[in-house]
Symmetry: C2
Subunit: 347 residues, 2 copies
Amino acid sequence: MGARPQFIKLAALHRAIVRSDAFEHIIIHSGQHYDQGMSGQFFDELNIPTPHYNLDIGSGSQNYQVGHCILGVDAILEGERPDTVIVYGDTNTTSAAAIATAKRNIPLAHVEAGLREWDKSIPEEVNKLITDSVTDLFFTPTETGRANLEREGKRKHVYVTGDISLDLLFGLELTLDIEQIYKIRKGDYYFMTCHRAANTDNVGNLHQILMAVEKLDKTVIWPLHPRTKNAIDKLNPNWSPTHVKMIETCGFAETQALIKNASFVITDSGGIIKETYFHKVPAVIIDKQTEWIETVDEGWNTVAGPNASKILDVIKGWKRPNVHSNCLGDGKAGDRIVEEILSYLNE
Amino acid sequence: MGARPQFIKLAALHRAIVRSDAFEHIIIHSGQHYDQGMSGQFFDELNIPTPHYNLDIGSGSQNYQVGHCILGVDAILEGERPDTVIVYGDTNTTSAAAIATAKRNIPLAHVEAGLREWDKSIPEEVNKLITDSVTDLFFTPTETGRANLEREGKRKHVYVTGDISLDLLFGLELTLDIEQIYKIRKGDYYFMTCHRAANTDNVGNLHQILMAVEKLDKTVIWPLHPRTKNAIDKLNPNWSPTHVKMIETCGFAETQALIKNASFVITDSGGIIKETYFHKVPAVIIDKQTEWIETVDEGWNTVAGPNASKILDVIKGWKRPNVHSNCLGDGKAGDRIVEEILSYLNE
């Protein structure tokens, strides 16, 4: 798997696999560059066992990552000959492993299948399309995902499981004292993340986002993705408004505590969008669209795009909705996925 | 591009591009191993200019070819920054170039889009699915192709052009004296090809095919694909019935002359299937299915699969149909493709 959200999905599914005691689980880590800082921390905190293989893909162009990942996964598949390969989400690792698996004619299960943003200029969208084009078992979090797959003629072995990354949040105890750590008051700060290439690699978009942040009226806690840090350093190396606390990327439980107690979340991360919804905290999405349209439809989250005035307007004008349907999942997605894989293998 | 059928499509489109004088045409040759014997010969005979790039992929596992081809094409795209990338057919090169192109967010045109065999265990089917999942301009030979794409929700920029590889057959003069070259009489021999992995890599299937060939009642002219030669050598190195003339792979015009004058054609090649239909010569398909179902529906070709008795029954029982609708193309596919690419780029 690739970046943070994939680790969370892996952790949740691994727990379900261990619970089921039904099959051996061999884990491949692609070792994409930007994961290095996070991966050790995440693996420990989420109790993911040490991966059996690490491809050490490192950084490089998207095609560099995909090409090398195909070669690396192919060698492993040749040796291990697994009954099924499970891929997560929409990273370069996802599509590369999907291709390698399909080419070896091994059943492919895609966790988080069927999500679409209808914009092929987004790197993740290309990964989604390639992966689902050769998937055998589609595990989709929502009815929207199922409908998207149906539009593409994919009706067989499509399972709406709920979102697996939320599995970890049910029953999670948040004991960190973030008021002390960050010198903030609960309910009186913003939590922010920004990592999408559309925002970090586009100077105009990044400028808009920074303008919005500058004008915010409370402390902003912002764990900086390395790509974003580089982009800000290029745009304005001295950028550091006093109310903005830029921190290193933080762990899973700490992130949840920071989301849960924020007055508002500003993000372009699909994972964070889902987590804000779970914690019933509003979010403004600084991406042009979201795959988690259900959270927007219910009024919890709002798409503003990378536009300073829209971002500020959303935060100012938001009204708490009456409905929270837990539409993204009930904490049992992992168990459902294990069950369906077993039944597929017994077919 | 990859193997023989792709060279033919490239040759036809190149002629149309030259006629239009509308854009520069940069050609990448992937250099897959099995093409080496054929490619020089084909390039000369079909007047394809020397490729600007040769990736020299060589042989190896499918994933080896796809992975290295992605890396090779990526480097070229970075340097050349083309307005559109055109890929042909369903080889490993096709899907690899499609992935590399989509990852660089460059418009992708797929010549021979929309064909399906509904069996993901076929390597070419995986290439078709991956390629069409990220294609922007779909050039499909038939209405069946259009319907297949529509089933997958692909309706935009889908063009039914007719089959481009037939473009070269319209007006082609066949002057070779095959009676003298092969010591055969026109209309009194079988022409045979066999190269699909499902037949060459499956001993049972290959055995069935050889059994059928052994029992044929006329001379069989069989240009041997290197993969098939290796497979036969493994199965039975002494296999050489006196009525079977196994020859080296032959050129384009020679192949057409051999098809046109055969009493029946035995093949698992999509390209040859189309060509038999063009020449109004019956074919028995030794594959389990065909993408060119129109030729079967009209009664010219019949699917027997790799089954000795079925193959012989088809040849014995075939009756000439009353209809030949030229449903595969009218010789102008290349011109249509050039026109649509131009109009897309001007959008």
